[in-house]
Amino acid sequence: MPPRLNIWPACRALSIRTRAFAQAAQPGPAAHSRGLADNTTSRLPPSASGALPPSMLPESEPPAYTSKENEAALNQLRMIEYGLSPLDSSVEGHKYGLPELPLPSQKHTKHRYDAVITQVTKLLMRDGKLAKAQRDMAMILNYLRTSPPPKLDPSKPLLPGAPPAHHLPLDPVLYLGLAIDSVAPLIRMRGFKGLAGGGKSLEVPMPLRARQRRRTAFQWILDVVNKKKSKGSGRTMFPHRVAEEIVAVVEGRSSVWDKRLQVHKAGTSNRANLTHSGIKGMI
């Protein structure tokens, strides 16, 4: 009798699993879609003070090639070994997997930057040189990051809900947006020709949309900037002048605040014109 009909070789083929199968397809990258398989685990020394957020602290010094993604990939390889098909159908057959939907806005080429930043950068642009304007904007943000926190002026209040002053430099996008939104006028004066009598135009206050308000405010800021003198020379000078004016706006020193006040006063005095019979149905 050949020995292979014996029961024991069959027992030998049995394996004992020490860990449970992953029942469903694991979320996360699959084995064949991982192009990142280097050991780039953090080597930060563990700090007892806990000053860092927990996401930045490794639990311990992990051995090489042990990350969560690697673990998932190894599990999937084991399941393939057992003849199961653990691969996610959304990942299988695609070199880089399917994108997560809906796409986050920053993944879209045209929306990769903050809305205010995009608009203001285009206002900085001269002669159609967008790349230069973008570099200038990066320098403005950099200046805001490195300048000392602004000393707020209570008589020129910023938007309600603004963070405290010492938070601003570390979030320069917020800093810039806050400055622009705070000095932005709410209205503009629209003149209706010849309605005020004697050939004069009738000034009527009109509300502005957010984008229009930001545009007006930043044009005012640019007007001031273009009249300023540079301290130094070189390509950083224009962005530094803009950034200095932004700081001046937040600190309440800028003359842009007066312009805003002027527009608002004119709007208040002319609001009676809203009921003028000549413009009925025109607004």
Binding site: L52, M56, T121, L170, D171, K229, K231, G232
Partner: protein, 483 residues
């Protein structure tokens, strides 16, 4: 003198009093407006302008009435200058100023200061370490920081220890142990950290009590922007650059003050303005240069002392950034109006001799040079030599793939090739992902990178930066509109 004349001397002179006496009688009391000697002038206005002591007088002289032809009436809105214009050099100083800290940045809790052997130990690869205060001052004195580097964004100036830096420091250390001189050229693509590698070498040298002599920009020596003068009794004629050398001496003095005070001369220097006797501290020798005139002899004396054989000297690091500029014909002209080769400038020759291996330091040391990819002139000989040395290093002894001279090209320079015949070459490229991660964690911990640093982000920035070119990583992650 007659009585009426005497009395007239007491009267206040005015235009209404007829002065009958001759002009010479009372010259001192006459008002200036009256004694105006008629200078040559065509009009009353011009005559007035020539007289600087004009007081009062009123009126502006004769101004022609009536219509005038207005030329350039569209230029009326010329901007009037407000305030005083900036002093010469002030705007450049503002542009070139170096800020080494940012008080807004969050202090990084796990950041440690550099120790003497930190840069040479392999366990520190892919860690970020801070420069101690003292070394910061020394590096600043020797102009190792550049305004284009991102020092101004973080709380403390810090360094990423790379694989190549540990390699370089170990080579420096090994050459000192064998009392030899390491001669090495750091080269690589744009913004790969060549100047930063020099800075790390200097930091290592300062921490280990070396004497550091650093030429921050090779181009300052050869673009004819500093004064030069022939050195008497040299054949062929060499040229000194007294003003630059004085500046260099002062930088050396400030950066190496402690060590120079503990190092003594072995021979006297009676030819200097101050008589330096043997056993004087080298610091006193440096102090002997007060004027540009005496700077070159003092520098030469200092160099002779540092390279004196058999003397007890600390190791010496001699470094230069922007090698291509000193490996070409300079912009200076000889009295015969011929261009001077850079190697005929005495300071450059001193460096190239050391780089070529003609100088021996008694306690060993290093001569380092870094090439630059910005604003560097083409130097075909240098490029070829560096490529040859690199090929020889990698291929071992066989010279099969070593690049050869183009036989139809005339722009090669034998003197440059002689200098670079036996140097080592350290080529820098991108950093590994591990190093990139360490750096990005430092950025994030300082609050300058507002993103989660995980494998995906690291790989993204590493790839965007052309496989981890450090300057490009900074551009992709720090200097962008997307913060």
């Amino acid at each position: 003198m007659s009585a009426p004349n005497c009395l007239r001397g007491l009267v206040r002179p005015s235009a209404t009093i007829p002065i009958s006496a001759p002009r010479t009688a009372a010259p001192r009391v006459a008002p200036i407006a009256l004694v105006r000697s008629a200078p040559f002038s065509t009009t009353a206005i011009n005559a007035r302008r020539q007289d600087p002591n004009q007081q009062g007088g009123g009126g502006k002289g004769h101004v022609r009435q009536g219509k005038k032809l207005k030329l350039g009436k569209f230029k009326k809105n010329a901007v009037e200058s407000k305030g005083k214009p900036p002093l010469p050099g002030e705007r450049k100083a503002y542009r070139k100023r170096i800020t080494l800290s940012n008080d807004n940045a969050i202090p990084v809790p796990w950041l440690k200061d550099l120790d003497a052997d930190d840069l040479a130990s392999a366990k520190n690869i892919a860690r970020v370490l801070a420069l101690p205060e003292e070394v910061q001052d020394q590096l600043r004195a020797s102009e190792a920081f550049k305004p284009t580097q991102c020092w101004g964004m973080f709380r403390k100036p810090s360094l990423l220890v790379r694989k190549e830096s540990v390699d370089l420091m170990n080579r420096m250390q090994a050459s000192v142990d064998r009392k030899q001189t390491l001669r090495l050229v750091v080269t690589g693509d744009k913004v790969t950290g060549k100047s930063m590698m020099l800075l790390q070498a200097m930091a290592h040298a300062f921490l280990n009590n070396w004497i550091v002599i650093h030429v921050p920009e090779g181009q300052e020596l050869t673009t004819a922007c500093t004064e030069y003068a022939p050195i008497p009794n040299t054949e062929p004629v060499q040229y000194m650059q007294p003003v630059y050398v004085l500046k260099l001496l002062q930088a050396i003095k400030r950066a190496n003050e402690k060590i120079l005070a503990k190092t003594y001369t072995v021979s006297g220097h009676p030819e200097l303005p101050q008589n330096i006797t043997p056993n004087t501290p080298l610091l006193a020798l440096c102090n002997a240069a007060k004027e540009p005139d005496s700077a070159w002899p003092v520098f030469q004396a200092l160099w002779n002392e540092l390279t004196a054989q058999g003397a007890n000297r600390p190791p010496i690091l001699l470094s230069l950034d922007g090698l291509a500029h000193v490996m070409r014909v300079s912009d200076y002209r000889s009295p015969a109006f011929e261009l001077i080769h850079s190697h005929d400038l005495a300071l450059v020759r001193l460096f190239t001799d050391a780089l070529g291996g003609a100088v021996h330091f008694s306690a060993g040391g290093a001569v380092l040079a870094a090439t630059s990819r910005n604003n560097a002139p083409r130097s075909p000989s240098m490029e070829l030599s560096l490529a040859q040395r690199e090929a020889e290093q990698t291929a071992g002894k066989e010279a099969a793939e070593v690049p050869q001279k183009d036989p139809f090209f005339r722009g090669y320079d034998d003197r440059v090739e002689a200098v670079l015949r036996s140097v080592q070459v350290l080529r820098l490229g991108g950093v590994s992902k591990l190093e990139a991660r360490a750096l990005m964690e430092y950025w994030a911990a300082s609050g300058m990178l507002r993103a989660t640093v995980d494998e995906k982000t690291v790989t993204e920035k590493w790839t965007l930066a052309g496989s981890g070119v450090l300057g490009e990583m900074e551009r992709a992650a720090l200097l962008t509109m997307r913060i």
